[in-house]
Structures are given as C-alpha cells and as structure tokens.
C-alpha cells in the first residue's frame, strides 16, 4: 500500500495539541486575558480594602443575592464566590468568546490558515485541535480566576465556612466542593458562548467579528430573558439557566435547573460546533 505522503507525515500527528497551545500561548491576547484573571481578584480585594468599609450600618440587608456582596469579605471561599459572581455575567463570557472566537478567524486573517491546510492538516483535525485548545484556555482562565480569588481571599480573610443568608453555613471542605461544582457548571453553560464564537470564527475572517458577535448574541439572549412576557419561550434561550449555579449555594443543593441548564448548553454547543465542522470541512478557503 502506497500512502504516498512525505516521510514522517501522518495526518493524526499534524498540528499537535502542544504546538497549538504554544501557538496561542505566544499571543499577547492570551497572556493578557489570563493575566487579567489573576489581576481581577487582586483589584477586587484592593477595592474592598480601600473602598470605605464603614457604611455597613446604613445599607439595608437585601436579598440573598446582594448578600453575596455583604459576605464577600467573610472568608476565602466567599471571596472566590464573589469574584465568580461578578464575572459570570460578562467577563467570563467575553473570555470564552475570545478564546473560541479568535482561534480560527485570526489564522484566516493572518493568511496562515491556508498554509496549515496545505501541510495538510486535515480540516476536521484542525478544528478539533483548535477547539480543544480554545476550551482548555477558557477553562484555565475560569480556574485561574477562582483559584486566585480563593488564594488571596483566604490569605486576607481567612479560611472560613461558605456563608449565605438563606442556607446554613457550609463547612469549608464542602464549600470547596460547591465552588468546584459552580466552576463546572459555569464551564458547561459558557460552552454555548464558546460554541457560538467558534462557529462565527469559522464563518468569518474577522476575529473581532466572531468574538463580538458571540458576545452580542449572548447579551441579546440575556435581554430577551428579562422580558417575562415571552413566557416559556425564555426557557429555550441559551442564557436562561446561566444563573442556576446559585442553586449550589442552598442546602440541600437545587439541582433541577443545573441539569436543565447543562442540557440546554450542551445541545446548543453541539449544534454550533456541528455546524462549524460541517461548514469548515466543506468550504472554500479563500483567505
């Protein structure tokens, strides 16, 4: 059997994941995004330290959700949770969209995509490697944020139970598990953003368009979700269950919305990625 390829060439060895990780690691935007994930908890910590802590008496104690703010300085776990809570709505969305949306489109805009395809890296493999690495970077960003929050929070405020006003305090050991659960859920829910950004990344040569488009659609979905008049249609919106991780804070944990949210996210992500693969393996690369 003559394979006919060059010596040492095997399609399954092209674009090794390590090579793609290195390709992305050398980029300034990767370094900045990951760096900011470390920086944000520090900024929040400084804000809590210097931002006038004496007005607690005036402030009304609000709902359990504003209690996340009140409790943020009660311990490392709560601080990490606060960092996640403030980032989940937008920052993490942007980060996921950035890593997934930029990956193919930027190669296309540099013109290096056609050289990768001419190596040839099989198209499906190229996408798979790009996707895996983009997701890996996204997850690393997520864990960096939580990890840094936990670390600096614990150093500054100590190792205390995870508090919330409705449920009983959660002992630290279990609190860590809950925090991991929250991270896992956020990672799953944000797959929708990653999926959408990745699809757009395949469809366009403009990296900014892919990232911005995904964030824009996510925001649009969030806005529609606020309109209660839409009724049960809202359940189908990709952002509908994005806050369900809060169910992990009560005792016993509320898992129904977590499961629904995960189902919704996986369905959306599979559809988006499926479309991306379908499109990319058939399209004429003209850039």
């Amino acid at each position: 059997m003559t394979v006919g390829s060059a010596v040492g060439y095997r399609p399954s060895r092209t674009l090794p994941i390590r090579a793609e990780i290195r390709r992305q690691a050398s980029r300034r935007r990767t370094q900045l995004a990951l760096g900011f994930m470390v920086l944000l908890p520090l900024i929040i910590l400084l804000a809590f330290e210097f931002g006038g802590g004496g007005d607690d008496d005036d402030r009304n104690r609000g709902t359990a959700f504003s209690s996340l703010v009140d409790l943020a300085t009660s311990g490392g776990l709560n601080f990490a949770l606060f960092c996640l809570a403030v980032s989940a709505g937008f920052l993490l969305v942007v980060v996921f969209a950035l890593f997934a949306g930029d990956t193919v489109a930027s190669e296309a805009s540099w013109g290096s995509l056609r050289y990768l395809l001419a190596i040839p890296v099989p198209r499906a493999r190229l996408l798979a490697v790009k996707l895996v690495v983009a997701l890996a970077y996204s997850f690393v960003a997520l864990f960096l944020l939580a990890g840094t929050g936990l670390l600096v929070g614990t150093l500054r405020y100590g190792w205390h139970p995870l508090g919330s006003t409705i449920a009983a305090q959660i002992p630290p050991g279990q609190g860590v598990l809950r925090l991991l659960g929250i991270l896992a859920y956020l990672a799953v829910v944000l797959l929708v953003v990653a999926g959408l950004a990745f699809l757009l990344s395949v469809l366009t040569d403009a990296a900014l368009g892919a990232v911005g488009g995904a964030v824009l659609l996510w925001i649009l979905s969030s806005i529609l979700d606020q309109i209660t008049a839409l009724g049960s249609i809202r359940n189908a919106l990709p952002t509908h269950y994005s806050d369900a991780w809060m169910g992990l804070l009560s005792t016993p944990i509320q898992t129904e919305d977590l499961a629904k949210g995960a189902i919704s996210a996986i369905v959306y992500a599979v559809v988006f990625w499926g479309s991306a693969f379908f499109r990319f393996t058939r399209k004429d690369v003209t850039s």
Partner: protein
C-alpha cells in the same frame, strides 16, 4: 451589473427555509389555543335566607370539558374573600379540561352578584351553594347519584374553603371537598389566644381591617356590602378589641367547627405554612373534627398561604396533583383511593432563576397534627425582664405585613420583623449542636406579672444565625391575653404558650431566641401604658417531624442529561469511524500512469457559487526536473488553479494528480508539496525563525527532515530572522514564505508570484535558487504575470488566458525563433532599400537608427553581410526572441483579464 444579488440555488433554498420558519411562527402565534373546555357565562337566581325567600342574583360561569361523552361529575368552585368567579378562572379551566363540569360563581355581596356579605352564613352563602347544587342536578351534562343529587365536589380556598366545609356539613349531596387555607373557628382566627386559658384572645386588627375594607359599594358608607349584623360585629370588635356575645355568636355560626361532625364527604385539607391569618392549627382542628366523624381526611401543607401566596412551583404542582387525585377518585372513580399519608414542604433555598424560594417536598405515613412525631427540648436562658406596653400600641413591633403580597423570601429569610427596645424581653438558647427539623407548634412556659393584673403579650420565636441575623419564621406570633396576674413575678403562675405551627429546619450552630413583646402592629393591644415583668420557665419544646423526601422531578433531568451526553459521544464515535474508513479507502487509490509525475492537472474547472467561472478548463503536466511557469494576465485563473492545487478550494470539475494520487482537500499527498499561495501568511507576533519553527511543528514531522538551515539560507534574512514578522517589509515576508515552502525540500514546489516585492538582485538570486531546486528530480511550478520572469526562470511554460490554456510546452518552443530582428544601422534609408531588395516581408523603422525586420526566412548572417557589403554600418543585431511577442500573440491584443468578462 445588477444591484440585486444573483439568485443562486443556495440562496433560494436558504430564503425558502427562512420563509417557512417565519410562516410557521406566525401561524403558531396567530392560531388561537385550542381549548379543552367550553364556557358559558350565566346568571343564576337563587332564593335563600332563613326563610328561603330572599332572591339573590349570582354571576356564574359553567364550564364543560370539550370532549365530553355522557354525563360528567361536577365541581363547585368557590373563590376567596374579595374575589369573583374570575379569580378562579384558571383553576376552573384546568378542572374542566380534566373532565369535570365546573360551576364557578361570584359569592353574594361581591362583584356582579347581588346581595350582602354574610360571611359564609349557613342561611345565606351556604344556602346559595345548596341551590347551585340543585341547579347542577338539573343539568343534562352532570352525572347524578339520585334525582336532584348531582355527583359533585366542592373546591375552594379561604372564604371558599370554609364554604366547602360548611356546605358539606349542611348538605349530604356533596361527595368530596377540597378546602384550602381556611378557618376552623372564625372567632379564634380573629381573636387568637395562644395561652392555655379561657380568656378571649387578642383582636387581629390588621387582617380584620383588610377584609372589612375590601368590600366596596353598597348604600352604607360604614358597612359597604356587608350585612348589617356582620358590619355591626366588626365595628364593635374593632373599637374595643373585645367582642360582645352577638359578635361571638355570629362568628361561631360562620365557623366550620360547628358542622365538622356532620361532614361525610371525604375531605382533603390544604393549609399554608406561611399564613398569619389562618395558621396550620386551623386545618388541624378541621382535620381532627372530620376524622372524629369517621370521614376520610387527608392533610397537606404547602409553603404559602395568605401571606405566602400560592408558593413555589413545586408546591403548586403537588397541591394540584393531590386535588385532582382526590376528585378523580371520589367523584370519578378513577385511580386508587388516596392514602391518608401527609405531605408537606420546607424551604430548601433560593431558586436562582425566579429569585424566589425553592421548597423540598416531604411525606410521612400519617398526619401528625401540629405536635410533630418527636420533640426537642432546649434550655432557655435570660433573666426576668420588665417590658413596657406603649399607649395605643404605638410604636409597635412588626411581625408580618398582611396583604402586602406574597414575597416568601421576606417572610422566610426574615428581614421584616422588628422589635421596639424596652418593649420586649429576650430569652435565648445555646447554639444548636445539630440541625432540628421543626414541624408544628413550639411551646414555652411563660410567667408574667402586671400591676393591673392583666397583660397582652406577643410571644415569638426567632431563628438566629451565626451572623446574628434573626428570622421570625413566616412572621408568625403567638398573642396572649392574660388576666388575674400577680403584681409580683415571684407569685406568678406559669402558663403554657403554644406558638403558631412552623415548618423550618433550624440549622446547626443557630441559636433560638424567644421574644416576649408588648405590642404588635398586626394586633390591637391595650391602650393604657403599663409595665409588665416576664420570665420563661426552663425549656422551649420544639415538635419535630422527619419525613421522606418526595422524589423531585429534577432527577429526570439528570437522566436526560446523561442520555444526551451518551448520544453525543456515540454520534462522535460513529462519525470518527466513518471518516477513518473513508479516508483509508481514499488514500490507497493511485493512478499508476501518473505515479512518477509530480503534477497532472486534467480538465480543471472552477465555477464559484455566484456563477462566476474562474477557470473554464485547464490541463497541464509538471514533470520531474522542470520549472514550469504558469503565465497569464491578472484574473486569468492562475491563483484559483493553485488554490485547488493546495486543497483550499474544491474544483467544480476535473482532477489533479500529484504523484498519481488524486488531490482532494486535505489529501495526504499534499505533504510532498511546498507552497506559497496568495502571499505570505505568518503569525505576526512571532519572529521569522519562530514562524518557520511553528509551521514545521504543525506538520508533525521529525525536526531533522525540515532542512531548516538550508531554508533560512534561501530566505537570506540575516539577523532579521529573529525580528517579529509584523515588522517585516513585503519582500522579507515574501522570502520567508518561500523559505517556508521549501522547508523539508518538498518534491513539488508551488510558488504564486514568488518575486513579488523582491528587488532585482534578489530576483536574480531567486531564479538561480529555483533552477537549482528543480534538479534532483524535484519540480517547481511558478505562477506569474511577469513574462520576463517566466522566460528567464522556467524550462516550461503554460500560458493561461480567460480560464483556458492558450499554449504550453518548453519555453523555447513557445517562444520559438521570432521571425523578426531588430537592427541598429548607421544609415536607415539605405538599409531599408537593401533589406527590401533581399526579399524580407517588412521593414519598420524603430527610433532614429533602428529597424524592425520581418525576415521571412532570410538568414540573419546574410542580412548583416549584405548591409556591410553595401557600406551600411551595423551597430547591433538583436534577434527578437522575446516572450512578450509570443505572449501577446497567444493571448491577443485584448489585455483585459478573464475577470472582466
């Protein structure tokens, strides 16, 4: 060119799909929902009153299931106080959809019904309902047990719930009842007394006022549409806080407590745990009374009520399920007999999505009442404390906010309740060692001393977390009116106070705080100021209840999630296997005749989706050792051909074989091809060296095969190779790209406009590099629109124009020996004469001294000899072998490219 986009098949399909979706959405939105029921609004005139002689006109609605066959059982659905038949509309519709004939009506004194409010009086409202039973019995759609006896259940909440109980007690025709959040004894509800004493309780002024105020209309501004006796009872009670006998009689008459022993209809009692008006103890009294008569009774609690509303979705679903189950069995004979097991719910936490509470359901085999199945005793500490009663109850402590809607959160996570300093005594327990599941009425023994011998006190139980945030569960308080008190605490007799039943998990680490206050804004407390002394005796007793969690439907979603992931993984595995099999089949096919030919292009055609044909038909061959130039004007189809060749674009027709392997996008044979297509493409943030390294890493091939140094030498970038490529000039990038194409010394090198951006010495160098490259059996394909370049670099040329091959072959052959010669002579006119005489085809002057001569076969030597012989000096003789001529001759004068076609 039209301003409109071309209609292609693809666009047409997309447009059609979008159109169909829009139409489907529009139809879905516009089409009315197909109702499972039919409704009829009507007015029913009934005669009631003590003598059955006072006509009243009731505004009613009769609903029937849509797919009804034969007679169906009926449900009499009553609304709450202040409501109308519209308040229960959705319940009526869902019951009708379940197969019941449903009669709803606006009670007398409300909405568009006539008459006055008699507070579910047996002579008025209950008789109205009996007449409605008569009416139902006459309906041909309604199943009857006997003539004039319809098969009927009565369902209602609060005011309607009490009506259900009273009607079932008064009329044996009722077959089942589902009263919810209703009272047992109206006097106890409005004058609650939590202490073990016969003294009349404390007037619940806020709820009473709320109800009294909710009746509008009528002739009497003081009474609204209340009947005179009811109005009078309220006025006197609200003024003094102490009811007279007539009032007590009236309230008693409107209380189901009086008829419980006569109720034979199986009863499902639903009561809310967040209800300061009719707390759980009311349903408990009803349940005990009905059960004592031997009638089947079932009790369910939910997290809601007059303060808490309908409760979270899971509770609503449970209540709806229990109701339907009850009616289906006792009215319709469907389903097994519902057991007498008891279900309740407890707050589990917040729902992140509806920003409200989430409850977990629990069940126990039997109804335990409000005393639980077990108990926990906790020691209370705190010295006897003096507390002041404020004049006219102002300022007063806040426990609940009746009528302010149903924010469960505020009631169960407790931010409403507040106490006034100096007006309350506090007694606390130690932090709980373990969580306690309380379900029922806690009790505490209280001692009080009062200088007047009387005291009105409010006893409450706070759940205090580690952060000292105190929650008064559901805003429930135990009002106590004590008489005959000693003046000094040491002589005071302890009295047991039963606090309102609560359902709550007291978490480990929390402390409990018993507060005894003198005022509460929800109640009428004595007007005169006084100072009491209060103490608690020893222990707080908490009834506990441990139930089996009701399986939540949430579990289903996890199974769905698991199945979904499984399906996705399976699909992925199948896809991978199919792809692998297909690829294996593809790579093995080799066309033997081309096996040693670097490149064979046959019949290539590429038409883009917008209809533009970039390549009509192109076919050529590149053999080993050749440097082939693909020559053509801009837009001739060169780049498209190369794109197809690199697997970037799929051709419409035709084939490309590289070393006998058919070339498709991603074909492995491409690994033997090095390419520069459409300009360089580099990662701008990497240096030239890093870029080449990154590229080679992406090939996955061994590092040694790259021939890295040779490639770098060809690039000739010197020290710049370690600068970032974004700072490179166009030429530097071009050279780096050529070096990249040569990495690994591929057997076929494809270069698109390689000299673009290079300066003349570099171009010359590049020519040598390419010519040298093609030795050793390798081949080079160069595309260019520069004729000189091809002529000087290539061994073979393929001339393309308008998407077609115009000529191909060795450069020499294409160029041929041009028939013309350029001659510079000293005497142009003499030379012209001589040349004409030699029989050449034409002589054209070219500048001052030049002549272009079409030789027509005459040897050049003879021409020169003739000129010299004739004394004409010859400065220069240049054979015109320029490709330009050939090129122009081949493609014609028309210099427009195929792109302009």
């Amino acid at each position: 060119m039209s301003a409109f986009p071309r209609v292609t098949r693809r666009r047409a399909v997309t447009a059609a799909v979008v159109l169909v979706l829009i139409i489907a959405a529009a139809i879905w939105a516009v089409l009315p929902e197909r109702a499972d029921w039919t409704a009829q609004d009507l007015r029913i005139t009934v005669r009631s009153g003590p003598g059955d002689d006072q006509p009243v006109d009731l505004d009613a609605r009769f609903l029937l299931p849509a797919g009804r066959s034969g007679r169906v059982p009926a449900v009499l659905l009553a609304h709450g106080f202040g409501g109308t038949k519209d308040s229960v509309r959705s319940d009526a519709e869902s019951l009708a959809a379940r197969g019941y004939a449903v009669l709803t009506w606006t009670a007398r004194g409300f909405g568009r019904s006539t008459g006055e409010i008699h507070l579910d009086s047996p002579d008025y409202e209950v008789k109205d309902a009996q007449r409605l039973l008569d009416w139902l019995a006459q309906r041909p759609e309604v199943r009857t047990d006997a003539a004039g006896d319809p098969r009927v259940g009565v369902v209602g909440g609060s005011y309607g719930g009490a009506l259900a109980l009273l009607l079932a007690g008064q009329d044996r025709r009722v077959d089942a009842i589902v009263p919810s959040i209703t009272w047992n004894d109206l006097s106890r509800s409005f004058l609650p007394q939590a202490a073990e004493t016969g003294t009349t309780g404390v007037f619940k002024k806020s709820w009473a006022g709320l109800f009294f105020g909710s009746s509008s209309g009528g002739d009497n501004p003081a009474c609204g549409r209340f009947a005179a006796d009811v109005c009078q009872a309220y006025l006197s009670m609200a003024t003094t806080g102490v009811p007279d006998q007539a009032t007590l009689d009236l309230l008693r008459k409107s209380s189901p407590a009086t008829v419980l022993d006569r109720i034979k209809a199986p009863t499902l009692l639903i009561q809310g745990a967040v209800d300061t008006l009719f707390p759980l103890s009311e349903a408990d009294a009803n349940a005990k009374g009905i059960a004592a008569a031997g009638t089947p009774v079932r009790v369910a609690w939910f997290t809601g009520g007059h303060d808490g509303g309908t409760g979270p979705g899971s509770d609503q679903d449970r209540v709806k399920y229990l109701t339907i189950q009850w009616l289906d069995h006792y009215l319709n004979g469907k389903g097994a007999a519902p057991g007498d097991d008891f279900t309740w719910s407890r707050v589990a936490g917040f729902s992140a999505l509806d920003r409200d509470l989430v409850t977990n359901g629990y069940s126990a085999t039997a109804y335990p009442g409000v005393t639980g199945t077990g108990s926990a005793r906790l020691d209370l500490s705190g010295a006897a404390q003096p507390i002041a009663n404020p004049p006219n109850g102002n300022p007063g402590a806040i426990s609940s906010l009746p009528g302010l809607g149903s924010r469960l959160t505020s009631l169960l996570s407790g931010n409403v309740a507040s106490d006034i300093p100096g007006q309350h005594a506090t007694f606390t327990t130690a932090p709980l060692a373990a969580a306690v599941d309380v379900a029922g009425s806690p009790t505490v023994r209280l001692r009080a001393a009062s200088p007047t011998g009387e005291a009105v006190l409010f006893v409450k139980l706070y759940d205090v977390d580690q952060g000292d945030a105190a929650t008064l569960s559901a805003g429930l308080v135990a009002p106590v009116r004590l008489t005959g008190l000693a003046k000094d605490l040491s002589q005071a007799q302890p009295v047991t106070v039963t606090l309102p039943a609560i359902v709550r998990q007291l978490a480990a680490g929390h402390t409990l705080r018993v507060v005894v206050a003198t005022s509460d804004q929800a109640f009428l407390s004595p007007a005169a100021p006084a100072t009491y002394t209060v103490a608690v005796d020893g222990q707080l007793t908490l009834p506990t209840l441990v139930g089996k969690p009701i399986a939540s439907p949430a579990a289903i979603w996890w199974y769905v999630l698991g199945a979904l992931i499984l399906v996705v993984l399976l699909g992925l595995a199948v896809l991978l296997l199919v792809r692998r099999a297909r690829r294996r089949r593809r790579v093995t096919t080799v066309t033997a005749e081309y096996a040693d030919t670097p490149l064979v292009v046959t019949g290539l055609r590429k038409a883009y989706q917008d209809g533009f044909v970039a390549v009509e038909e192109i076919g050529f061959t590149v053999e080993r050792g050749q440097v082939v130039g693909l020559l053509g004007p801009n837009g001739a189809g060169k780049t498209t051909t190369l794109r197809v060749l690199m697997g970037l674009t799929t051709p419409t027709a035709g084939e490309i074989h590289v070393f006998g392997h058919r070339l498709v996008p991603g074909a492995q044979i491409l690994s033997r091809v090095g390419a520069l297509v459409e300009g360089p493409g580099f990662l701008p943030h990497l240096t030239g060296r890093q870029n080449l390294r990154a590229y080679w890493q992406a090939t996955g091939r061994p590092w040694a095969d790259a021939r890295f140094d040779e490639a770098l030498e060809i690039a000739g970038l010197g020290a710049s190779v370690d600068r970032k490529t974004k700072n490179y000039s166009h030429g530097m990038r071009q050279r780096l790209a050529i070096a990249q194409a040569m990495l690994g010394l591929p057997e076929l090198l494809v270069l698109d406009e390689p000299t673009d951006g290079l300066d003349p010495p570099q171009i010359a160098e590049m020519r040598r590099v390419l010519q040298r490259y093609a030795t050793d059996g390798r081949a080079v394909l160069v595309s260019s629109h520069l004729l000189a370049e091809v002529e000087q670099t290539c061994t073979h040329a393929v001339v393309v124009n308008k998407g077609r091959i115009v000529a191909s072959g060795p450069v020499d052959e294409i160029v041929g020996d041009s028939p013309t010669v350029a001659i510079d002579v000293t005497d142009v006119s003499a030379a012209t004469d001589i040349l004409t005489g030699l029989g050449v085809r034409s002589v054209t002057p070219d500048g001052a001294t030049g002549l272009i001569v079409d030789m027509n076969g005459t040897p050049r030597a003879e021409v020169v000899a003739s000129l010299v012989r004739a004394g004409v000096g010859v400065d220069r003789v240049v054979p015109r072998r320029r490709l330009e001529d050939a090129f122009l001759a081949l493609v014609g004068d028309n210099s427009r490219g195929s792109g302009d076609r």
